[in-house]
């Protein structure tokens, strides 16, 4: 028997409001991470210039 299935406890059950807010937080984090990816990509191109793609093999 594991701790997880002791006493048939279903654990924490989120209310609809809590689920809605968790979903909003997740979307916000995804958008921020996506924006950071774009930002770092553009910044890299600006800092290093197009020459970053022309490397000797």
């Amino acid at each position: 028997m594991t701790i997880m299935d002791q006493d048939g406890d279903d654990g924490i059950v989120l209310t609809e409001e809590q689920k809605r807010r968790r979903r909003a937080r997740n979307i916000a984090i995804a958008l921020v991470l996506g924006a950071l990816v774009v930002l770092f990509y553009v910044l890299t191109i600006v800092k290093l210039g197009p020459g970053v793609l022309q490397r000797p093999l």
Binding site: I3, L39, V46
Partner: protein, 315 residues
Amino acid sequence: MSLITEGAELTRPTGAESRAEPSLAGVGDYFALLKPRVMSLVVFTALVGLMVAPGHLHPVEGFVALLCIAIGAGAAGALNMWYDADIDALMTRTADRPIPAGRVARGEALGFGMTLAIGSVAVLGLATNWLAAGLLAFTIFFYVAVYTMWLKRSTPQNIVIGGAAGAFPPMIGWAAATGGIGIESIVLFLVIFFWTPPHFWALSLWRAGDYARAGVPMLPVVAGAAETRRQIMIYALMLAPLGVVPWLLGYSGALYGVVSLLAGAGIVWLAVRVRREDGLTAAKQLFGFSILYLFVLFAVLLADDRLGHLLGRAV
């Protein structure tokens, strides 16, 4: 036998002490932790510092620099709310902030603030230079450790010394563009530094009850309203000529000179009224005007600089 099953006789703690309540924090609560209104002034003054600086910064680098300064300021705000949650709960102005209202846990705010602080400093250093990043790191440290943790609860000079944290942004913007610290950026620092006391003390005149209840030794609580009104006038008298210095030093034109003189006269006139009147009307007017003063001063400094570039510094 796994570690999990070995622990079968261990009773899982139940109740509130073992489980964090599921978070009810909305995205807006995390945004509120960043103190967006303070952040807007920080971004604006940093933008002016960055734009009037003689160095050249690629627009993308400039944007990243401003973003980092904004996020760094927001991080300082979140860490301030983490530390001050106890007194925020006692003051009507701050009781509905995310932590005292119970929507965000203190630990979450600490983690949020630290992540943003470290991230913003690192990205600013990589995007521009490490002097600007060092200044941003020092600003966050100064606001959180020196102002929030130490001065705020221990001396009525809290906002005078702590005001330095709010004065650094134009200097950071300048450093991001030039890689150095010029006398011009020090003047911009001093303008905000001397602007802070009359601005906050005007507010504290009608919020003294709040501060007293929370045990924060703001000047009106410790020294009384009359002494606060006197100090407001002293700082306004120092601020008005300081505002004109960029013109006197020759790095802004006549347009800025005229506007800074008029705005300085306005702030002194209101400070004199605050000193003479017993009511709070003049204090509220001074508080509102002080925000306008700083905004107009920096906006005209920027406009004057751009105009100077267009006309070959003839204004």
